[in-house]
Structures are given as C-alpha cells and as structure tokens.
C-alpha cells in the first residue's frame, strides 16, 4: 500500500496550459468535474467489458448461474434470456443500453436472483456504509493520537512510533480480525462473536479495518509532521513562547494531515472493499458478503454494480477532499 502513497507525493500537478480567461477557481472546478465524469464513465465501461468478457455464451451462463447447474441449453430456453438481457443486440447497442441504464440509476438485473441489482445492493449498503464511516472515524482518531504522541520525540520513541505504523499498515485485515475475535470476543467476551446490529457488534469489524488504515495514513502524516516540526515557522512559534503540545496541535497537525486528507478518497474505496473481509469474518450483513457470493457464482451484474458504486464513492469523496483542502490549506484557492 505504501506505493500508492509515494505515487501521490511524487506526482506534482502539471501546470495547466491554454489561454482561456476563466477565473482559476472556476477553471479548477471544471477540470475536477470533467475528471470525475471521466473516472465514472471509465468505471462503467470497465464494468461492461467485464460482463461481455465472461467466457462462453452469456445466456447459457445466466441460466446455469440461476439454476446452479452446468449444462448446455436449448435455443428455446435461451431465447427469453436473450430477450430479457438484450443479448441478441450488437455489442455497441448493449453498451449504450448499459450506460443509459446507469444514467437512470439502473444497475442491471442479477443473473442469480433475477431481480434488479439496485434492490439487492440497497438492502445491504446501509450496514456497509455504517461500518465504513465508523472505520474512518476510528482510523483518524487512532492515527492523530499516535502520531501526535510519538512523532518528533527522542529517537527511541520515534522508532517505536514509526515501527508501529509500519507493522499495522502491513497487517492483513483477516488476520488482525481473527486475533481481535479470539482475544476480545472468544477470550474476554467483551464483544459478540457474530457482529449483530447492535452498536457493540460494530467495534471489532471496524477496528479490523481501522488499525491498518491508521497505520497507513500514519506513515504519510508522520513524515509531514516531522518535516513541519523542523520548519522555521515552528521555530518562530517556539521563540514566541509557545509550548510543545500547543505547537503540535495548533500548528503542526494542520500541515501534517494534508497528505492523509488527500488519501481519503482512496481510503473510502479501500474500506468498502475491505468490508468484504470484515463482514465475512464477523458474519455481518453488508455488500461485502453480497459481493463474495456474487463473485463465487459469477453473478456479474451484482459484481459490476458494486464496482461502479465504489468508483462513485471514490469520485464523490475526492471532490469533497478538494473542498476540505481549501479549508485546511487556503493557498490552494489561488494556485
């Protein structure tokens, strides 16, 4: 996961070219919106391509997925399926139909359950979004606390701090989840083994996803935190008589969280897909379990529906991140 972070840092935004005379703000908003639309369109196209790339005759696959048997089908059996999914149309028409459907909020019809994908996802998405939200809040709290506590201290504490970041960032969520499950649910009995609907049930699944995320964001934040601690403006603040804790909280933190804020869009996408593991392990409802079942049975409309939704979440978060950036770093307004 480290690489993605590095990629972000190394990528200096290329200066825009052209001689349009729009205000820089409008211009950057337009640029961002175009970028968002392109990402969504790309995601939808990838989803469509995945569906037609499925090996074998699709109508046969659909019937087989639906019945759970693998056998050859007669043209009489296939005809209604072809009509229902529009499979007799040329690919271009199918593509346009698919994109048109997406624009109307239609994600297609599940092969297996034979009902709209949107309905299947809508039933389950609430639980996953709750888990995602709790995870993100926990991750930020853990990360800010740990970095503020350990960054820029004596070399031993620094080593401990960044060591914990590295270890937690690399922890596979399934393994961490098992350890949490064994210790806090089976061992100590503090939390239910099966994450029910109660508030108590969300703690372990959320921690399972939040701890690695905190470690990952912590690496980026720590670097920036320590860089800022050495910055001349921090020396100036100390020279004014400011104490260390105030310096960390009031000056340094604001600079240090910028890279982690940039990562938010990525973090949301990765948390939603990480929910696959947490939901499976803690037997929680949510789109993660829907996804596993769908991948397992090759119910592609469901898989691609979730893919498109995650891409949308990523795009929307990134737009929000850009707004948050202007609040945290007002220099962005002009540049």
């Amino acid at each position: 996961m480290t690489h993605t972070l590095l990629a972000r840092k190394a990528d200096a935004p290329a200066p825009a070219r052209g001689r349009l005379t729009v205000s820089p703000r409008t211009r950057s908003v337009i640029d961002k919106l175009i970028g968002a639309v392109v990402v969504l369109w790309g995601a939808a196209t990838a989803a469509f391509l995945a569906q037609i790339a499925l090996p074998g005759d699709r109508a046969t696959t659909i019937l087989n997925v639906r019945s759970g048997q693998t056998q050859l089908r007669t043209p009489e059996e296939l005809a209604p399926i072809n009509a229902e999914y529009g499979l007799q149309n040329p690919i271009v028409v199918q593509y346009l139909d698919y994109i048109g459907g997406l624009l109307r909020g239609d994600l297609g019809i599940s092969y297996q359950q034979h009902r709209p994908v949107w309905g299947i996802i809508a039933e389950q998405v609430g639980a996953t979004l709750t888990l995602t939200a709790v995870t993100l809040v926990l991750a930020w709290l853990i990360m800010v606390f740990w970095v503020t506590l350990t960054a820029g201290r004596s070399s031993r504490i620094r080593a401990l701090g960044s060591g914990v970041d590295t270890v937690t960032a690399g922890l596979p969520p399934y393994w961490l989840g098992i350890i949490l499950l064994l210790v806090f649910a089976l061992g100590l009995g503090w939390f239910p083994v099966i994450g029910g609907a109660g508030a108590n049930g969300i703690v372990l699944p959320a921690l399972t996803l939040a701890i690695p995320l905190a470690g990952f964001m912590g690496q980026a934040t720590r670097t920036e935190f320590e860089r800022s601690l050495d910055a001349p403006f921090i020396v100036t603040a100390r020279m004014r008589g400011m104490g260390d804790l105030s310096i960390r909280l009031r000056h340094v933190l604001r600079h240090a969280v910028l890279p982690a804020v940039t990562l938010s869009g990525w973090a949301i996408g990765s948390t939603i897909s990480g929910a696959v593991i947490a939901e499976s392990l803690f037997t929680r409802p949510g789109i993660g379990r829907v996804l596993i079942a769908a991948v397992d049975s090759q119910d592609l409309p469901v898989v691609t529906g979730i893919v498109v939704l995650v891409a949308a979440a990523y795009v929307i978060t990134n737009l929000l991140v850009d707004l948050a950036y202007i609040v945290i770093d007002p220099r962005m307004k002009n540049s």
């Binding site: 052209g18 403006f233 100036t236």
Partner: protein
C-alpha cells in the same frame, strides 16, 4: 585557531560609560551528544549585551553562530549539552530555568526574528493571527484589544493598510511586507532583547535595506539586538560590538570599528578581504589555498579562434509565460546584449527580474517568443536542436546548485568523461588524462575522481561543475548565480578561480547574479534588469559610479558595505518606494 584572549580591562573601559548590561554571557559552551560522545559546536563564547546596543555574531556555516543564538532562548535542541559560567538576562539566571519559565521569557523578554518570513511564519495562517498568538500566549489583553494591538504593531513597522494586510497569509504579501509582519510578531510584547538570526538572508537587496533600517530604529528606541549573519557588510552599520566565529570558537571580538578597520585575526582579515566589490576588482579575494590550479594549455579551441566578432549576440528577446490562471506575464521583454571574446558581461537583478530566463534563452535551453540569439556569428536560437548540437560545446553553463545538476548515480570521473566532446580524444587513456587535467585546472586533487557529488563539499562541487563546463573547451561560460549558495570565503576562492580561468583560456562569461558586489568584482560590462526589462546597461565603471537609472541608484544605495558609517540610503520605512509592490 585559538580564542583571542580579550583584554577584559580594555573591554570594561570601553563600555564603562555605556548603558546597563541586559544580557551577560560568560564562557558559554555547547555540544551535541550523539552515541555517547559530545561533539562541541560552541566553545568559550563570552559577551555582554547592553541596552540599546547591537552585538553582531558573524561567521560562516558551521561556525556555531546560530547554535549560540538558540541557546540564549533555551532552544538548542534535545541532545544539546549547555554549559556556561554565567548566562544572565537582567536578574534571571538562564542556566537553571524550568521549561515553563523559559516559555514566559521567550517572546516577552527576548524576541526572535528568523530568515525569510515566507517560511518563518505559518504559511497556512493570516499574519495577523501569528502576531496575535504572541500576545495571547503571554496573556496580553482580551480579544478585541489584541486585535487593535496587532494593527498598531503592523502600523509601527510600516505596513500600509494594516487591517487588510493582517488578514492575508505570508504568500499573499510581498517580501518586504511579510518580513515586516515577522518583525512585528517578534516585537509584539516589546521585548528588551531581539535576536535576529540571518534576518535578511534570501531577501532581495532593497528589502534587506528596509529590514536593516527597521532594526536600526528599534535599536534607537532602546531595544538591544543580537544580529547573526554570515555577511560582515550586513552587520557593519548596525553593530556596536562584533564577534567573529569560526569552527565554534570566537576568533576575534571587539568594537565594530576595530573589527572592520583593524582586524587582528587572519580569519577576520580573510573574511573582510573575501567580500567582492568594485574596489576588489583585479585583486585576489582569497588567500592562497593548498591546491593551486595547475596551468595547462589543454584548452584547444582553434576551430573558432579566428572569429573576432562578438561571441554571443542577443537581439530583442521576448519570453512570455502563462500563469495557471491564464494570465500572461512577460518574463523577458525586448532584451538585447552582446558579449565579446574574453569579456565578462554581468546581468544583475532581483528575483523575478527575468535574468535567469535570459540565461536559459542564451543557452537555447528555452525558446524565446521573439528575438534571436547568434553564437559565434552563427544562427543559434533560430535553428533546430539537432543543428545546434554541433555548436553546443562552444557554450556551457554552471548553476547555483551543482548537486542537483549531477546525476546522483555518477561519480566525478563519469560526470567529466560524459562532458568531453565525442570524438575529441582517441583513446580511453587520453580521455582519463583530460579529466585529471580538468580537475587540476579547477584546483581539485586527482583523488576526487571516484567520489560521488554527495561526498564533496559545496566548494568542491562547484569546482567539479566548473570543470564540467570547461570540458568541451567552450568559448562562453554562462554562470547562473554560480557563487550565490557558497560561504563568503569559498565564494572568494571560486571567484579567483574564475578570473584565472578567464585569463588563461580567453573565456567569455555571461555572469548572472542578484549580488551587486559579485557582479561589480567580475564584470566588464553590466546589464541591470527589472521586471523583465533592461533598465540600464553599459560599462561597469559607469554603472557603478554614475548610475543613470533610478532603479540602479536604488540598488546601489541599498547595497550594504563594510563602511560602518554608511547609512543605508534609498531605503525608507514607509514602503512607498517603487520596489514595494503588492503581490
């Protein structure tokens, strides 16, 4: 070097009738602990700072001057070992203070001004908030009275329309205004002592003059100042007492007059001699060094030796840049110049004047939107790069930051081998010999060939960069701020080397710098640039003795000199002067 034993009696006599002592430093030693051993960085520093006086600490990088300054506010660092016979601020013993007590002294009794406010004020906050923070930390007044005080402070340091300015961030203010805001934040609680650590480094000369003028006024109001600088000329007219530090030791201290007019220690003398100016032209700046450049006649440049016109001619150069917001700025506007064989043309200007863009166009690394450059009488800017390559060996370049101009994977030998023109040397042995000859020419020993740029000192790196520039036996060398990042004594050595090389090989220099002293030391003719336009050009003597354009006059007036009686002319506290635009 040994510590110059200052005659205590003499010092007492001299300062007897002067105002009371505010800060007394006696035998201060500071070291940094690492892996169980202590590395001393400040040794036996002693001085007294009196009311309304200025003590200057002058030294080059690594001299311990900044560590000394930070120790005086208790911020030496976590692993520092501080020891002093006495360290007193009024009746407060600074050697035994709790962190809390230190915080109450910082900002309230001792103010601190760092270098460029662009990095010394929080870039994410309005400057007013930063100034207010100083007041708030020490429990000064309530919210509304603090707001008023911030406006008063900004007014007192000469910031126009302070209400608006206080709401702007450092990057929204011009260099002069934000430096004033930084000073206002240090002065917020009217501290008895202000420590200014390189307060004008990285600032344009005209802004520097304004800042020095402001410090002068503070001193006259009774504030005591400790001024830290690498540049003797910056401290010359402000300091009452000067300490010269080198390698952690005070090699010499005394009244400003003594130090500047009759320096006793050879190091002080060499520092003073190292400062380039119009007067030093034609003389050597640095004392003879261990490795003297070897004179060889390997600079074969017969191909164009017969050509006797100007080696470089630029005519009507224009370069526009489009800002991200779509606005068009003209970085270079109708610039023309000629450079004769064996001549040095200096281009001087402040940041943003377009001097470096002009250099890049001259090197054909950037294309001009209009105008042409001719090299040795041939088309240069107007032909495609493939045609230019044949002529490239005639013009080479030395940058300000040599480190970034070297591929980090290559050692010195590989860097220099790569810069030899293809086919000029038949055998690998001949190429190696040429590399060693080049190193000898720039005064470097053979032993550096296997070193990597990172393993060289700043001065050595710049010598390697010069050797690389000489490798193709060029007619012209473009020196873009080539000595600006060097300590003054190293700068002196490099300038001497450049003069030697020019004499030996008949090189023509296009010398770009913001530093009038360096320009005047080296140049035959000078181009003064401002906002992309050449405001004045001509013979160096004429420019420096009888400047015609007001901007040149202002630049020269703002130039600090070693003459202590010199008051900075052309700089006024009210930023009405032409350079103080609002960005």
């Amino acid at each position: 070097m040994t510590i110059l034993d200052i005659d205590t009696e003499q010092r007492t006599n001299q300062l007897d009738s002067t105002p009371p002592v505010r800060l007394s430093v006696d035998n201060l030693n500071v070291g940094f602990e690492r892996h169980g051993s202590v590395r001393p960085v400040v040794k036996n520093v002693s001085f007294d700072l009196r009311e309304g006086q200025c003590v200057a600490i002058v030294g080059e990088s690594g001299s311990g001057k900044s560590v000394t300054a930070r120790t005086l506010v208790g911020l030496t660092g976590g692993n520092a070992v501080v020891d002093a016979d006495a360290l007193r601020l009024g009746d407060e013993n600074l050697t035994a203070l709790s962190p809390k007590r230190w915080r109450s002294i910082r900002g309230r009794r001792i103010g601190f001004i760092l270098q460029d406010a662009l990095v010394s004020l929080d870039p994410l906050r309005p400057v007013g908030k930063e100034i207010e923070e100083a007041l708030k930390l020490h429990g000064w007044g309530d919210r509304t009275s603090r707001k008023r005080k911030v406006i008063d402070l900004l007014t007192s340091v000469g910031v126009p329309s302070p209400e608006n300015r206080s709401r702007q961030r450092p990057d929204e203010l011009s260099g002069g205004l934000r430096q004033r805001a930084l000073i206002a934040s240090a002065l917020a609680l009217d501290p008895e002592i202000v420590i200014a650590d390189e307060p004008t480094t990285a600032l344009d000369v005209t802004v520097q003059a304004q800042v020095l003028q402001l410090l002068e006024e503070m001193k006259q109001r009774g504030t005591s100042i400790i001024l830290i600088s690498h540049d003797l000329s910056v401290v010359a007219h402000l300091a009452d007492h000067i300490l010269v530090m080198s390698g952690g030791e005070v090699v010499e201290q005394g009244s400003a007059h003594e130090i500047l007019t009759a320096p006793k220690h050879p190091y002080t003398q060499s520092l003073i001699n190292a400062v380039p100016s119009r007067e030093t032209r034609g003389t050597r700046l640095a004392p003879a060094t261990g490795v003297a450049p070897v004179h060889t006649a390997a600079h074969a440049n017969d191909e164009h030796a017969g050509f006797d016109g100007p080696v470089l001619e630029a005519e009507g150069l224009v370069k526009n840049f489009t800002a991200p917001d779509g606005t068009l700025t003209t970085a270079v506007n109708n610039v023309s110049f000629t450079l004769g064989r064996g001549e040095t043309l200096g281009i001087v200007g402040e940041s943003g004047s377009g001097k470096s863009t002009t250099a890049r166009i001259a090197l054909a690394l950037d294309t001009a939107d209009a105008g042409t450059v001719r090299l040795l009488g041939q088309d240069w800017s107007a032909v495609p790069e493939t045609k230019r390559r044949r002529l490239r060996k005639q013009i080479s370049v030395v940058y300000q930051d040599p480190l970034s101009s070297f591929d980090p994977r290559w050692n010195v030998e590989r860097i220099l081998l790569d810069s030899l023109p293809a086919g000029a040397f038949a055998t690998a042995t001949a190429r190696r010999e040429r590399v060693l000859a080049l190193l000898a020419q720039v005064g470097l020993p053979d032993s550096v060939v296997h070193r990597f740029p990172l393993q060289l000192s700043g001065g050595q790196r710049q010598r390697v960069a010069i050797a690389r520039a000489l490798a193709p036996s060029p007619s012209i060398v473009v020196l873009d701020e080539a000595v600006s990042a060097l300590d003054v004594s190293i700068q002196a050595q490099i300038l001497d080397l450049l003069v030697d090389l020019q004499k030996e090989f008949g090189l023509s220099y296009l010398f770009i710098s913001h530093d009038l002293g360096v320009i005047s030391h080296l140049s035959d003719r000078v181009l003064v640039m401002k906002d992309g336009v050449v405001v004045e050009s001509g013979d160096a003597d004429q420019i420096f003795t009888r400047p015609a354009h007001p901007y040149t006059q202002e630049l020269l007036g703002a130039l600090p000199t070693l003459d202590e009686s010199h008051t900075v002319a052309g700089a006024s506290v009210s930023p009405s002067s032409s350079t103080e635009g609002q960005e």
